[in-house]
Amino acid sequence: MDGLNRRDFLKAGAVATSATAAACAYDYKVPQEEVLPYVVNPENVQPGLATYYASLCNGCATACGLVARNTDGRVVGVEGNPDHPSGPGLCTRGHFDLIAAYGPDRLPGATAKRTTLSWADADKQMLDAVAAARAAGKTVAWLGRYRTGTASALLDVLAEGGLRRVHWETLGVEPLLAAARIAFGVDELPVYELAGARTVVSFGFDFADSAFGSMAMRKGFAKARNPASDGFAARLVAIEPRLSSSSIGCDDWVSALPGTETQVALALAKLCAAANGYSGAGASLLSGVDVNAACAASGIAEARLTELAAMLTAAPSVVLPGGPSTQGADATALAVATLLCNMVLGAVGTAVQFGRGFRPGQVNSFADVKSLVADAAAGKIGVLFLDGIDAIHALPAAIGAADALAKVDLVVQFADEANDSTGENTLVLPTGSGLEQWSDASVESSLHVLGQPSMVPLHDSRGLGDTLLTLAKAWAPAAPPVEAVVAPLEGSTDATPAADSTATVAPVAAPAPVSTASLVASAANFGELVKARWTALLMPAGANAAAWWQEVQTIGLVASPPALAAVSWVAASLPEGTNSGSGDRALVLFASHLGDGRWANVPWAQELPDPVSTYFWNTWIEINPRTAESLGLGEKDLVKVETDHGSVTVGWFGAPTVREDTVALRMGNGKTTGKYAKGRGANAFALLGGEVDPASGALNLTSRVRITRTQGDSGLHALCGSMNQDGRTIAARVNAADAVANVEGEAQSIVPIHHLPTDPRVEAAGPVDMFPEPQHPTYRFSMVIDTNACNGCGACQIACAVENNTPFVGPDQLRKGRTMSWIRMDRFFEGDENSPDVRYLPAICQHCAHAPCEGVCPVLATYHNLDGLNAMIYNRCVGTRYCANNCPYTARRFNYHTWEWPQSYHLMLNPELSTREMGVMEKCTFCVQRVRSVKDNWRDAAFAEREPGKPVSMDKHRVPDAALQRLTACAAACPSEAINFGNWNDTDSTVRQLGTSPRAYTLLGELNTKPGVRYMAKVSHHAPAFSHGGGHGGGHEEGHGDSHTPTEAPGGHGGPDEAPAHGHGAEHKEG
């Protein structure tokens, strides 16, 4: 081949091939596609252009607002509604709810005995059964999850007519609601305003994940923890047997013997009262508290509690109640004790707010559920409506829901898919996704969220509200109840309204009594009823009804500044409740991603790695590594977990975030139905006896267990290959005092970096760049991720999957490490065994200016573009995988198969980008389709303002920072607003400010890859103070020799040419 260069060879090859092709008369024909216009174009709909609907998230009872993006008739994306008081961001559940809307198991219509019925037949069957039950003197009952708004008002109408309502959720609010009633005599939940708290003590409250109202709380906590926001970084102290995902990043884990948390809380209250001299209401309850006994029982040193009390009383602080891991037989007592702590601390009225009417509608206790099940078992229930509760799976097996359900004449189930509770006597009425129908919710008296349909129903479903309306019309009560907007509590209303309430609040008229029953007759459907009820209850007097409704639909909510009310302590004694049970260890349940099983049939939820173990698609226990060692457990061994009520055999994970005497079991799996849920893992609820906390009737979620090693292979595989960072600085940590003292960009970096050792000869040679400096004439798109606000919840990962058509691959492929998620949630356990220091780092493509992947691609399928993006052209990729091998961040994903989107998941595909086939590499693109779209919008604006005959102004072209900050799907989803996106070239941009701040650093900066992603170190009160004595580089390489990046990062942020800090002693493990 001498003298023949590569191109000539290829040219020759091409000619030869063409000759062959012609000879074969290859008949290639492009498939003929059709272009189908509308018959009548709907208003505001343009093919290929997204339409946005402000709506309501139905992922849980919290009633967050969301914005649904409808492209070509299908909702292909959801984001948090920025007009909602809890601001932008949407947690995993909101995204799961979107995916569930396209589930392949969704029923085509009303179904009984696996046969599809017409809605007329279904209604007749339902109404006949109701009539027959009432005639026979049997009860018509409702067992469902929390409901508010118009659906709840309709249920009120039905309850007036005799419907027995029970609203219950596994991760419910009964203990806290009961505690508020006992402590303050109010019938609402406290709102925890965490933004101003210097110290937060949590007794297991899952405030950043599964707790009711978590969105606002985690935002508040992220603010409190951000050293740059108010000049302090909140200290989080967790007193719980297993660190929940909310407190996993805590500064101090003061773990008490499981079941003794109430005593600890009371002792803490007493010590706080002693420290600040509190003698007000409730103080008398502390006289009988024995601090010594509490410390002895819990195993916490008294000095530690005293120190904690000193911290709490020194500055505004808040004590949070219990959560799933501490919801024992004394759950209410614990909640009351924490409220008493807040009383002593003076936090009630500021950080612990009442008067907002915060509650998820009617709340029943598990005791009510038990009595309903008992009545069903006794044959007293004629018709049972099951709303969103898979009773046979999610209720403790010990209470016998399966037998009871079989004895009900007709079970009417509101579910889109058949589940474990669907039996021979079940009529399933699919309600459709929340995105397909009208709904509304109101969990605060001053906040009403409207759910408007964002797409046409995929199947022949009918909203829950419409069925309720049908029932109400057929079954009108004699005396309609009169409803008013929940009035603020009696008492002073001069408490400070939230000063930072949103700018989009609309005035709320004085509540006028409205009878929902009177509106029922005139409403043709539920949507009309919602509108009529909202108009009657919320429209300001004299407003134009049509214009007002249009505005409400546009914003998606009606909000006014919350009115607070002062409350006074009324509890004269503390509720009783003791934990019992046999077994050598405590069992606690935790919900990660699957909830109580609600999302078990969502494959992306199954696939999302658990934030602690990074396991997937299964059930497992978390036990302390030392316990595992003492039991002699092998990595893949199975463990039999046994209580007095049942047993499960599952795999295990050695988590240093669980006490040695505690076992944590994941709930949600173990279903017997569902394409993706069936046969996965074991049902955690089989272990519960269904005991209740006597004070509130709440389900005791804890138990005592025996665990034994059994034969077999668990098949569990951790997606995160490493437990810790092996001494490197991947997820960095800085001292809180340093972080507070150095918030401005002018200061030096305070991030201690452990560099990989390099050859001294390389250092002696000074900085050498192998690659030419890329040009970034307009944009250098960059991202700054604040790991201090990240708790590994996975919202970014699931949002990314939805936005970027990332498939799920199933457990078998995942075990081979073939995850397709563009975001890898790195989790590191640092610190010692007694005080784990858990760090999360969402790892994505770093969009390096000097990208190792680009140089090795033989076909130039990946390259650096003028916007600073590391582009990936799928058509050009021939699948050598060199790039993935050469990427130091493991950011690239290879398609080992052409993954499938089973019907009807394919309808969820985002048409803005292609799906990838087998043999193609892919990775984070910084959501290039969104970048393209936003640039397009600004280009339009620039053209629109163009002066005739003159070129377009490039300044007007440039997309402003505000339009970029939450542009990518991950940034838009992050509930903690930890992810920021923007243009590094813009010196005023958020990313530039954050990325040059003292906490910022780049990943593996010593590799001189010059990433476009920067991280901000976690703030810890235990990190050693930073010493400026040693050199430290690795900060901000961007801009070296790049004439298009005008300013250098300030001192200390130099490039890798600065001496790397070898053996820097700052980042050592604490002892």
């Binding site: 090859g13 290859y26 003028l866």
Partner: protein, 225 residues
């Protein structure tokens, strides 16, 4: 351009990988780049570490072409004639294809747009209009056949091109003279890049920043999605 036949399409398929290895290039760029460099001392821009589109090798036929072959007429459900509507009646393209200036798809008008006029047009002895009326009366969608069809991995925004001042005819041909719509352009990547590298509208629109815009327009991610 019309000589592109099935045979060349076949070449495309068989040599796809080879083309990838060789890298795409625009022949036209070479001269233009030199010319523009002379006339203005503008900054030049390079995307990536290597020039993605080296000028020395370019054969536009070695690029996937899509849509129906150029030499085949496509039978439409209704024999619609652009000539009558545009040339005879003087209608503006935007009247029916109003989305072309607003979004990525130009779109085919909804039947209601046709009926806006045709409700008043006599259908006697005009079988095609009878067909239209039948579709309308039944509420059925008219299954038009695509004449111009880009692959799903291509991002093409009609709006961007209309706003930039391009005439529809530059890509779609003399539609006003067509009784049966035909595709006149190969719609392959090299053909797209010809304009992206040198179209006069770039200089008009971007003035001194035209070189930057030309560079941006050569970025693969401008069109590949």
């Amino acid at each position: 351009m019309r000589q592109l036949t099935r045979a060349t399409l076949a070449i495309v398929l068989f040599t796809g990988a080879a083309v990838g290895m060789a890298g795409f290039a625009t022949r036209a760029n070479a001269e233009d780049d030199e010319a523009s460099a002379e006339e203005a001392s503008e900054e030049t821009f390079t995307i990536g570490m290597k020039n993605l589109l080296p000028p020395e090798l370019f054969d536009r036929n070695l690029v996937v072409t899509v849509g129906q072959p150029l030499d085949e007429a496509i039978e439409q459900p209704i024999a619609f004639t652009h000539e009558r509507h545009v040339k005879t009646l003087g209608m503006d393209c935007n009247y029916c294809h109003s989305n072309a200036r607003k979004g990525v798809h130009a779109g085919v008008p909804a039947t209601s747009v046709c009926m806006g006029c045709h409700a008043l047009v006599d259908t006697t002895d005009r079988p095609e209009l009878v067909k239209l009326k039948e579709y309308w009366d039944k509420g059925e969608v008219i299954p038009w056949k695509k004449v111009h069809d880009l692959p799903d991995y291509v991002y093409f925004s009609h709006k961007r091109h209309v706003v930039a001042g391009l005439d529809c005819q530059e890509c779609h041909g003399e539609v006003q003279n067509m009784t049966v719509n035909e595709r006149v352009a190969p719609l392959n990547m090299g053909w797209c890049l010809d304009c992206h590298a040198q179209h006069e509208s770039i200089t008009e629109n971007y003035g001194t920043k035209a070189e930057l815009r030309r560079a941006e327009l050569k970025d693969c991610w401008t069109c590949h999605k």
